[in-house]
């Protein structure tokens, strides 16, 4: 017996938009008596919306650590890691310098005065603070003191793009030359990209200790306060809101996402199913 309310509400990381859409295309056919709503946000913003009282059944975020930091145990009881990814440097067919850019020389190319590059807002979106971590790790990896500060100063102001989805759209339209995105986003949009070294792209748990050196300060949920976030391998996670009026249906959707069909969709969309 399923639940009585009839709309399943999902709030998810912008980077998961296509995954959620594709999953719902299949899943909703099995449950035609229900309707489905989904909202794409930067993941920090998504967690904050729950804290402010907005009602959702399922929360799928780009950083599993956000659950422990903001949602568990008050709003969510348990959560599951279901996908991994990495940060890449993506460009488009008209990006300046793209013929010469490599995984080694990208800092020099980006710091040229005519190049426009960007990241998403680190206060709202994990892709934004992960990009800052990549820059910090690149400073160590390439032994270039001051690299992170130079990149921050040269980049388009961080608040221009609230989430990586907005940034990917801007890159697709040619409004910028380069963007730090998830590999999955570049693949979904057919955008070319350079893969960064594994020691800095936040992809490999074997480098968890190295990634931990990167530290970013972001706005806390308490106005005027900050939270310190350390670098770690990129993992997406999903959970059910304790207040969900459709816990059975929500569980069925999560099972779908984490089982064979969901894994195929994740792979199609460029993620690594975990």
């Amino acid at each position: 017996m399923l639940d009585s309310d009839n709309t399943l509400r999902i709030i998810h990381a912008g980077a998961l938009e296509r995954v959620v859409q594709k999953c719902l295309e299949h899943f909703s056919k099995q449950y035609p008596e229900y309707s489905f709503e989904f909202t794409a946000v930067g993941s920090r913003e998504g967690a904050k919306r729950l804290l402010l009282g907005e009602e959702y059944d399922i929360i799928a975020l780009a950083d599993q650590a956000l659950f422990a930091e903001l949602l568990v145990p008050v709003l969510v009881e348990s959560y599951f890691v279901f996908a991994a990814d990495q940060i890449v440097l993506s460009y488009n067919c008209s990006s300046k310098g793209s013929r010469k850019i490599t995984p080694e020389n990208w800092p020099e190319i980006l710091l040229k005065p005519q190049i426009r590059f960007a990241r998403s807002n680190h206060h709202l979106d994990p892709c934004g603070y992960r990009t800052l971590m990549v820059w910090q790790l690149a400073e160590i990896f390439f032994a270039k003191p001051g690299l992170c500060s130079a990149l921050e100063a040269a980049a388009i102001p961080y608040f221009t793009y609230p989430k990586s989805l907005d940034l990917a759209a801007a890159l697709s339209k040619g409004q910028i030359d380069y963007a730090f995105l998830y590999s999955s986003q570049a693949k979904q949009l057919g955008l070319p990209y350079i893969a960064l070294p594994a020691k800095i792209n936040l992809s490999n748990p074997a480098y968890a200790n190295f990634y931990d050196q990167a530290v970013v300060s972001v706005d806390s949920i308490t106005p005027g306060e900050n939270v310190i976030i350390h670098g770690r391998p990129i993992e997406f996670a999903v959970g059910i809101a304790k207040a969900s009026k459709l816990p059975v249906l929500a569980k069925l959707f999560i099972n779908f996402l984490m089982d064979l069909e969901g894994n195929s969709i994740l792979e199609e969309c460029g993620f690594i199913p975990c």
């Binding site: 599993q64 422990a68 991994a84 992809s203 490999n204 074997a206 894994n263």
Partner: protein, 129 residues
Amino acid sequence: MKEDLLSKSELTIPIERSIQAELLLLLGQRPSHGYELIQRLNEADYKSGEADAATVYRNLRRMDKDGLIKSHWEIGESGPGRRLYELTLQGEESLKVWAKYLAQQKTNLEIFLQAYFRFEKSLSERQGG
């Protein structure tokens, strides 16, 4: 063969060939989730190169589908829930086959190296004489 091509094949071919055996052995030692397996694999004395997350998870899914390992979702006590993998009886048998195969490969390589060293010695003797 160009140097970069040589180094690429040295790094990738053994990983693709042996990563399943390495994962089966690690899971035989104790059940683990993917994140931990990647760390254990990269810390192992016998690792043949850097094992990336995509390769490890792809091989885990393949072995799960083939019945060599089985998995279930484990709720984390203080952290996230993760898919926990463990070895099956079929996986144990497969690991035994892998061990026999690798032992045979080791013997073949030793025989090859002995032959090579004899050749190298005769070559230097000819050049010296």
